[in-house]
Amino acid sequence: MTRDLDLLLPSPHPVELIDPTGQTVAEAAHELPDDAALLRAFAGLTTARRINDQAGALARQGRLAVYPSSHGQEACQVAAAQVLSDDDWLFPTYRDTAAVVIRGVDVAEAFLPLQGAWHSGYDPHRYKVAPQATPLATQLLHAVGVAHAARLRGEPTVALALCGDGATSEGDFHEALNFAAVFRAPVVFLVQNNQYAISVPLARQSVAPSLAHKGIGYGVPGERVDGNDVAALLTVLGAAMARARAGEGPQLVEAHTYRMQPHTNADDSRRYRQDDEVAGWVQRDPLARLETWLRQHDLLDDAQLAAVTADADQLAARMRTELAQDSTPEPAELFAHVYATPTPQLVEQAAVVADELSREDEH
């Protein structure tokens, strides 16, 4: 199937509906989300920021083994969770824990890998959230498969697959776009272009006009959006999800955002970027602009803000309590899930471990 190039090209500039100062951008092509959606998004942003702050603190205290923060990218986190219906699947990366929690995954389950206890902590089928992907772009193909299976059965499921700018250089990114297009799979790809793949800047990943343009070669429409404007994200992603649900195939959305913190707490970002660059992005903060806009439109007052903040504080308190627990599984579990039924060899090896541990206990 061929498509008109104009239908594939992203807009000349990223879609922005609320500017960094909190003013509505005159935009003919897109409508603002309704008030309720924006209020829900503001609560989500507050929650996501609080998750990042709390998890960062727990990592510094050694309560978490590691935390890749999405500070600065909360608008993407919130929009990714908010545009999903119950039937939809989310395919998150390691940096998308905030989106995972906002989607509904319990914090104790979501943070199990960050505690170093197991590689994933929740039942993906229960939440329709795939395990957070640590390799880059591999999960995009899984999203295509989940979506294609749903489509074959005539189900309304759409898969929303997240990745970063670095992942667009991986082969699986390209294979996923191509497979999704050829099979017209209901998938929306959201690239959170936070400008850095650990230390490597975007310029070393790609010289394409934008990452959204990468869809053109596969016949996948691309769109660019201000990734710190949750209103624009909700509108653009919402339209892409609706389009996929209607059977019109996949879409690629590139969100321009910024990783305000190092790659993880183990990274030193001063080795590869300047403080004034980071300071420039503070002016584009996703929370501040929506708060300004909501107050100007009389949708948020101090009391409402206090209530939203209190909810986020409550979640943070729960994180402190839950993540103080020792969640380490029994060592025997290491042998329990390799196969549906352990092989005779694994049964023997589990017995060896049990024996080793019993002798440790004696010492």
């Binding site: 699947w89 197991w118 590689h119 994933s120 929740y122 039942d123 993906p124 089928h125 229960r126 795939a130 395990p131 390799p135 591999t138 995009l140 193909l141 899984h142 999203a143 295509v144 498969g145 989940v146 979506a147 294609h148 299976a149 749903a150 074959l152 059965r153 499921t157 898969a159 082969g171 699986d172 294979e175 996923a176 191509n178 497979f179 050829v182 599984p329 579990e333 329990a336 899930h337 390799v338 196969y339 549906a340 092989t343 005779p344 060899q345």
Partner: protein
């Protein structure tokens, strides 16, 4: 090929391994709507080896379909479909052409169940035509089984005859775990009398293909006919060789293999793959660890050399044949017994 069945069943029809595999796919697809077959050229063409012949015509192109030419994409999409209620059976066109899918296979197919503490199982089959003996060009003759056997979370199965091809593929498709199903392509066209209704052991069980008392040949896939032929030649020379066909590399049937080796006290492992760090090495280690006091001689290997697979005119140098097997048997310290 010499006789392959010791089950005592009388063959009801003549089938090639390729036809038996096709039959298994057809039966599984008819029984279960969630079984889907896809890969490169598997649709209208029926696969380059015709294993999927007629499936699109019979079941429609949503059940058996061609994909873009990208192996990581094929396996990655299969992972997602298996996560969402399907039982994908994907075809990698040739052994070495599966390598682009290596990350998907080793990092996701193999690990999803463990990663999710049992919440997500991936009932999928990755069919890989493998090994040499067909005069194939480069990248068409690799024995890649060790890569998969080394990866916890995968079952690795390889039939050596038509009846097993049918039985084991049916079992692989029905399995809740991912199965790497390695098809010895040089045996695709071997015709045999088979009874597809016969009861055969499933995945994880080896079978004794030929009884013998002097030494045990342990083989799998394309090397089983070689081992049987070597046993036939040895018999004419007055030496009685037992032949064990692994059928399943993972899970490994220590019980059957060790019982066989203990009964003869001598063993040779026969395999096409380069011997260094191979499945054959693992078999030698396991047998030595478990049967040491029954052994009259070190366990030997008749395997491929540690070289890239040669071009067609030299492949006979690489492939272990009857002579290499019998030379290894000759080295089993007969003068000491």
């Amino acid at each position: 090929m010499t006789s392959t069945a010791t089950t005592g069943t009388v063959g009801h029809e003549k089938l090639t391994m390729a036809q038996a595999l096709n039959r298994a796919l057809r039966e599984s697809m008819a029984e279960d709507d969630s079984v889907v077959v896809f890969g490169e050229d598997v649709g209208a063409l029926g696969g380059v080896f015709r294993i999927t012949d007629g499936l699109t015509a019979e079941f429609g192109d949503t059940r058996c379909f061609d994909t873009p030419l990208a192996e990581s994409g094929i396996v990655g999409m299969a992972v997602g479909m298996a996560m969402n209620g399907m039982r994908p059976v994907v075809e990698m066109q040739f052994d070495a052409f599966a390598y682009p899918a290596f990350e998907q296979i080793t990092s996701h197919v193999a690990k999803m169940r463990n990663r999710t503490r049992g919440a997500v199982s991936l009932p999928m089959v990755i069919r890989i035509p493998y090994a040499g003996g067909i005069g194939g060009v480069e990248h068409h003759c690799d024995s890649s089984e060790a890569y998969y056997a080394h990866t916890p979370g995968l079952h690795v199965v390889t039939p050596a005859n038509a009846a097993d091809a049918h039985r084991l593929l049916r079992a692989a498709i029905a399995s809740p775990d991912p199965v790497v199903f390695m098809e010895p392509k040089k045996l695709y066209w071997t015709k045999e009398e088979v009874d597809l209704g016969a009861e055969l052991p499933g995945i994880g069980r080896a079978m004794v293909r030929r009884e013998g008392t002097d030494a045990t040949l342990i083989a799998y896939g394309p090397s089983v006919p070689v081992a049987l032929e070597a046993a036939e030649v040895a018999a004419q020379e007055g030496r009685s060789l037992q032949v064990v066909d692994l059928r399943s590399i993972v899970p490994f049937d220590d019980e059957t293999v060790c019982a066989a080796v203990r009964s003869t006290g001598r063993a040779v492992v026969v395999a096409e793959a380069p011997g260094f760090a191979s499945v054959a090495s693992e078999i030698v280690a396991r047998v030595t660890e478990r049967c040491f006091h029954s052994l009259a001689a070190p366990v030997r290997r008749a395997v491929g050399f540690d070289i890239p697979f040669p071009a067609p005119k030299l492949e006979h140098v690489q492939l272990p044949g009857v002579d290499r097997v019998l030379d290894a048997v000759d080295d089993l310290q007969w003068d000491l017994s």
